[in-house]
Symmetry: D3
Subunit: 327 residues, 6 copies
């Protein structure tokens, strides 16, 4: 006899305290019903939850292939297969955290500043309610809106940034704010804690020798892809130290992962993380005080099978488990 069916986790009628957990698969099979992040209920008010997951469907700052405006929809759909209990950590994230799908923030493809302001305002609202904001992009520019609110609430924060690109680059075609500049702007606006920025999985080739000058000058610590590939345990240990260093914001760009695992993204770079490595990097933050997080650059167009979004949904659950583990 077993009482843990994979698709029928709760046999009792839903009790009030279960309101912010994934819908029971007994009532709504994984293939059925409205798609929401991690099968959570849609709920607008952050005061009722510990974590509010919001979509930020914006790709107006993309320099190559757009499509990340469909990222939230893709992650919601792929979320059908996600679950909440981690056998390794022994943590059931939904037992510890009340979570909800907060819907999508109004993003206007043609207006980046208006969009960032909408994101900032929504994140500020979540933070003011005492909840943790989790964003699903959208291109990487959305992180700037979130960081503005986070820094306003918490002061300059530490950053764990997992990405193929440093995103501290200069203007493109004279446009100063695009998806490859977000952490330069965040640094220039004073949103990041000095010495608290860790960038992982960055890899070349780059356009020129000066591409990483800004990151180096700003004191960002870069753990290039080689460091991870050659000694994963060492990098995990480095992340564990970062986890103990104070409030952190986690920004995960799916192109950190190799195109074989994450073909659905706008500026893919070969030679990246495996899905296992990606999950390990997030998991290594166990115990961190995450004050916000985002998952960006998932663009479902080049990924009809949906494996990118499925990995994204898994990374989202993994990050929430980090949060749960610290409660």
């Amino acid at each position: 006899m077993t009482d843990g069916p994979p698709d029928a986790s709760d046999k009792a009628p839903e009790r009030p305290e279960q309101a912010f957990k994934p819908r029971s698969t007994r009532e709504v099979p994984r293939f059925a019903g409205a798609s929401s992040f991690l099968r959570l209920p849609f709920h607008d008010d952050p005061r009722d939850v510990d974590v509010l997951i919001c979509g930020a469907p914006f790709d107006g700052a993309t320099t190559y292939r757009p499509g990340a405006r469909f990222g939230p929809r893709a992650v919601r759909e792929a979320s059908a297969l996600t679950r909440g209990y981690h056998p390794a950590s022994g943590v059931d994230l939904f037992e510890r955290l009340r979570c909800a799908d907060g819907g999508d923030i109004l993003c206007v493809p043609m207006e980046i500043e208006r969009t960032l302001e909408n994101i900032r305002a929504r994140v500020a609202e979540v933070l003011a309610a005492g909840a943790v904001p989790a964003l699903v992009g959208g291109d990487h520019s959305i992180s700037l809106g979130a960081l503005r609110a986070v820094a306003a609430h918490h002061g300059p924060v530490g950053l764990v940034h997992i990405d193929a690109h440093a995103d501290t680059f200069g203007p493109a075609w004279g446009v100063d704010l695009h998806h490859g500049t977000v952490f330069r702007h965040a640094q220039q606006e004073g949103l990041l804690r000095q010495g608290g920025v860790l960038q992982l999985a960055i890899r070349g080739p780059l356009t020129s020798a000066s591409d990483l000058d800004f990151a180096h000058a700003a004191g960002f610590e870069l753990l290039m892809i080689d460091a991870i590939k050659r000694d994963l345990a060492k990098v995990e240990a480095r992340l564990a130290r970062a986890a103990a260093s104070g409030p952190l914001y986690l920004s995960f760009d799916i192109d950190a992962v190799d195109p074989a695992y994450a073909p659905g993204t706008g500026t893919p770079v070969p030679g990246g993380l495996t899905s296992y490595e990606a999950l390990c990097l997030v998991r290594a933050l166990a115990g961190a005080q995450l004050v916000g997080l985002d998952l960006v650059e998932i663009s479902p167009e080049r990924d009809p099978g949906g494996q990118t979004a499925l990995l994204g949904a898994s990374l989202l659950a993994e990050a929430l488990s980090v949060l749960a583990a610290s409660r």
Copy 2:
């Protein structure tokens, strides 16, 4: 000056009486937010609406390629692009009908009779509330559940059945109830009005000469694909007469349409309807007293671009417009 923006139809704040219309694209752009049928609100109680659209994600009766359990999800997602005003008829369906997405009926892939009973019960509930049930399948077997409720409520009804197959066939591997037998069962159970069954777009080849014997013996009227291809206007006129003949149930199997237009289905048959012809056939029912309808056999697997589901969503809106036109 214009006041009809394509993606911002209502500038005023939402009024109560707008509650059962598609969400304003001003608040939720077409690429954003939760996917629902025709962008309608999710709502459980049929007493508040004129039409309740429910998913029936069941493909357990499929004899060839399964996957139609993902039909409701695909149609919801494709619904992002649908609209409600028909310039030809001058009818705005959402002005005349309060509509909602009633969610999915619990369908168990391994248990067809239990599933049909769940469908029957939900459809009966909708009918009892005075609303019209619209189902999105799922394979064609779901129609039997719906027709059982409809006939219980209205008595035997007329049927307009648009499909590549007559679905009056015999058992397969000794299984008497599969998706190719639904209208044989409906007839045998006395759910259909004598002389009131019209089958359109049926085409061969068939397995044997006797394949259509049941349909002929039962007095079903078959308008084979040639009739439609060679004189569409004549078939439209025939449908207009059917529309005036009393309560009708409309069952649209997407494989009526050619695989070029609807590749995402389980048993495609070349030589079918164009999308234009399909829309015309439904439109020709203007004025009909539709007491229920379904759209079945959309299976998104073979259709990564989503054109089948988009056509399905359009046919759904078209059918609701027929309903709206009679109000």
Copy 3:
């Protein structure tokens, strides 16, 4: 009650005289078992059958996109969905014709002449046995091998050629024998009956004004795409006359059909036939004395959903029905 189940046509144990019919779906469901043309048994010896269908997996004469060597495999797989009884004609092809899948002729991608000789020899063997050869290509060059055998057996034959291209063109890069030259060679070798060549669905644009000079000089009759689109019935009548004109070879290049219906081909041309029109053109040959036929240029690479091969399998069955109707 019905006795015509869609997937279980014969309930009695297989009798000897059923040996050359499609396998019973009662024993092998459509989704199961080895794939063969029209679900027929594999059989090598043409003396036992009326029609032997052989694959000719050759694409070594392709000037643009290769891949047609996988055409026979794709058509076999798609054949899972085909059936044999035509409600319009009232003919069940498998009641009238003993058919088998004769396997694939050895085709060597690098050696066109050796390949054509292998094809010629196999077709000659089939003809000598009194059976009708039906080939599934492969690129269009395979027709030349077949026509050499057919003309050797029957003398110069009439030809109904349905294609986007006339295939009477000149050398490419100095190579005189490629897939766009097959009917020029057939004519030059005296394989075609004077005045007996009908080319349908040809369309432009062409490379130069002289592209059709050969066809015109040779007295080929061209029914360009406009003729078919503007008056299908008239073209069907023309084909009916052709059907009465003596021994005919039918060569159907799938690119006659529009890329929407047949994306899986090497040199697609927009503005082509619909699947319905394609089937009608073949059907219009009812009563013809077909002495051989081929279906070429199906290349499954660009058609993951398999709709091209499914249409091909349907056209193959349609052509066999024409043959059956004359028995």
Copy 4:
């Protein structure tokens, strides 16, 4: 013997006067070499040619699915299969017109007005040189840049606009200039000849009853999809009259065509043109004085097989043939 090889049209060494024709397939097979529009040479200076085809890779004004910035690349690649001689008209467009691929205009995804100005300036340059500008988009907003230059050069012009949408809609999310507003802006800016606007293939459903008010008030003539489907010859006759009415600008939005034929577009609408109808509509303009033309909204993401871009390349050649026919 034939002298019209399909892939080797010119045997003599290239002569100077051949400089602005497609590259000889004798030297560069269709599957080889750099992709350019219609296999034409890249050339920057419009003074040397009759037609300069320029890409306008901009999709920053897209309200639903972006990706049209890759339209020019896709059309160039698909152009490998195009040819120049029309058997129906007897016109070889490259014999009559010196044509070149003018490269892409610098389009900045985040800056629509700057992009439109770049387009305007390039089109003005082409017109000043006495050449005809042909643009390949990009989303439909690019037409506004072109029309500004055309009207400045020729005065208000007639417009033949083939599209599923009227594109005279209002703002979206407060953004007044997006891809669904281009002809409202063109009209408001006085770029269009009064009474000289013909819109074809427009179809519903629409967002609201007022959606076409602007077009009606502005005196645009709308030939809805039904008109074309029910009597193509009549619509062709109407276009022939338009062709005789003075300088015309042709704007072809690929979503005029049904998604079965053109899945690769951002806002597809079922029930559209077939590829044959689309080609016929353009062809019906034979003799028109085209002063500019564009082909927009081809977005290759949802069309891995490339059939949308191939149709686009064919429509481009067809439009140039219209131009050639008037020389």
Copy 5:
């Protein structure tokens, strides 16, 4: 000089003793002919062979995405590229084992118990003939049918189970027998040797903390994904010990492998095995006394390129080599 052509291994005419080897590529190139498992002859009678490979095209027990009924067809097609000689082990499996494709067992999608009984009966027949049964699924429920026959013949057997899921879960929607329960049922029915069950590549997250209770209580040994990723050699050593422990049944669920390598499966889980690791795990069983094996959950729908089935075919050959190595 070389005598080992890649595609023409035997130049002499086929000798009788070669009857149960892959067809010579000299006669049937890899791209040609009927598709069969590992290019083996179809043969019904297990008494003539050492291994009979049978398809079990059943997906009626699938809780999420169906489609595994097409697994046997996909593996047969992908088998075109497989070969038999392992340079590492020096074993040519087809030199040591007479193998054949036994066709597909009749599986009825709507009737799981009847299907399992058909599977059991066929496997029993193979075992009774002294041959080893190898099954290609189908969803994981098919293993239960096989294990019933194996245990009846050999008594309770050891099990090496490679999978992302433990498949010892509870009922779903009240259905006790679905594809996630197969080893719970096998254990409850006494089919497995106590202490002889090894589960590899299992990974979370799980639905709840109790999900693995059954496996733990039953004494199954779980080697979670981390164990494999962090020390593959150690796990290989563990498997080598298992190989020496008596009769084993090997059950390989393709979702053990990461979705990057095996996208074509119904319930993919990120963070899985690489193809190299998967092949190593099977290879590590060298010398084992395999009494039966299966390969399940290959569903080609989401994998148009066929890489999942190709990996499946390779794993099948790898498992047969394990068997060959012990002869």
Copy 6:
């Protein structure tokens, strides 16, 4: 402030010395303009450059799935995302090497010897000009044409060959020269330096035990896939020694990489390199005296997302960096 924008590397007008660098992204965004290898200018004359990259679009020697004739086009398109500066080595390849896209060599699908002669002649011309030839295939047979020229110029050369297959096999169907025989022919023609051939990533299964006899007899050193997977650093060290051993030719067959990373190839073999390993193997040659290189067997058909070609473009840049590092 930073001066290294990702997409706008040079703000000054192009200076002459910049002529053989990638086009500035300021003028031509990555999504725009003609596709060329690494965004380099097209240039015919090798005397002006250090490296001339030429396409060799030939797949006439393919034994399984053809399509590599579209490899050069696919790599050019994917090159949009490549960059030139390696942060690890500190080398900007375009600072050290003048590079250009030399267009495609005329390859005739039906004539392998003529094609190899065209390749030989072009490579000889490049070598005579003192430049290094880099070829993008095409199937592996093209390497033979290149090696003939290289050996004529430099004498027998060392070879680093990265591939799943040894390509020293025997004839297929009596055809002695196909893509699996290229290094047997090169050895037999005396083009390779005795003791200077290193083959990496070779893996089984093979057709027979004798498959590697030729390679062994010829003294080729094989580093099978296990060697790389189990100790990458050791293999890198071996390559570093090879790099110091004199003139080398590098031949990279993309099927060395696992199908998960490189699905777009004609004869994929599971269990291969990751993209990271592939890049490392090339990088390990730093300092080598490369006298020529090729990248072969990229076939975009099975890879609509283009990840294979993107990896190919990255490997090409990596190989050029090796060359740059030695200058």
